[in-house]
């Protein structure tokens, strides 16, 4: 029997890329995406971009708290 049942099209692979990175897919789906990435250069580009987007989100997750807001919140803590 052929192993064609393991092959998935680009659309399926791309749809599952973030879940693949998060390892939230079933072992079978994880293997299917991995199998697809082994031969599809275009989807490897999508995968790299998904990683870059994740890093982009992390790098934009925090900012400076304005001093006047910090001062107000510290006063709030003092008054609890």
């Amino acid at each position: 029997m052929s192993e064609g049942h393991r092959i998935i099209p680009c659309s399926d692979a791309v749809r599952q890329l973030w879940d693949y990175l998060d390892r939230t897919l079933s072992p079978e789906d994880q293997a299917r995406v991995e199998g697809h990435l082994a031969f599809c250069r275009k989807c490897c580009g999508e995968l790299e971009f998904a990683k870059e987007l994740q890093a982009f989100l992390v790098s934009n997750s925090a900012d400076e708290i304005p001093p006047h807001v910090k001062a107000r919140l510290e006063r709030f803590v003092d008054e609890l």
Partner: protein
């Protein structure tokens, strides 16, 4: 603080709470600003109030940061419920076909760039990213922020938002797609793209 004076244990506890709260204020405020468009400071205050009342339930002081963030998410969830907002589900087929990677490659917003996709992302400042996030309906934004900005596990997000794991996974999927689509739309609207620039 409205507690009986004179007990060294309570005094120690109060000091420990104050130390933790002050240390975590920047993180809490950042998280609140990404969860909500208005009332971030109010949300942090609600979190601090709840945390102070239940500080004796914090078993492991080193987990204080995560504990406070969880309380803030609970306060956010309760606020949404109180406002009784209608759940704005987005049909999966509406967003599933969009690929930011492909759109950037096809539209070529930075001609002659060797790092086209990275250049696109680097065009965004933190406030731009926040603006884009706030365009997403709450039900998609919250899991996205908690998973990819705060590093919560999906099971933990399901518990915090009181939703089945499958629902959270589906909302994460749609949230990511919506975020990609809105990044592109925002860049277009704000004139961040150099399409058709002269060589």
């Amino acid at each position: 603080m409205d507690e009986p004076a004179g007990s060294p244990e309570i005094g120690d506890s109060r000091e420990a709470f104050e130390r933790l709260a002050r240390e975590q204020l920047p993180r809490l405020y950042s998280l609140a600003r990404r969860l909500t468009s208005e009332g971030a400071e109010d949300l942090v205050q609600e979190c601090l109030l709840r945390a102070y009342r239940s500080f004796d339930t914090l078993a492991e002081p080193q987990a204080g940061g995560s504990w406070l963030q969880s309380i803030l998410v609970n306060a956010f969830r309760d606020r949404l419920r109180k406002e009784s907002r209608t759940v704005q589900e987005v049909a999966v087929e509406e967003v599933d076909d969009f690929s930011l990677y492909r759109t950037i490659a096809e539209e070529d917003p930075f001609p002659y760039s060797d790092t086209l996709h990275l250049d696109f992302l680097h065009a965004f400042g933190k406030e731009d990213v926040r603006e884009v996030l706030l365009r997403l309906p709450d039900i998609y934004r919250a899991p996205l922020v908690l998973r990819y900005m705060q590093g919560f596990a999906t099971k933990e997000i399901a518990r915090l938002l009181d939703a089945p794991l499958g629902t959270i996974l589906a909302r994460l999927h749609r949230g990511r797609k919506l975020f990609e689509r809105e990044l592109w739309a925002y860049a277009e609207e704000m004139g961040m793209l150099h399409k058709g620039a002269a060589p």
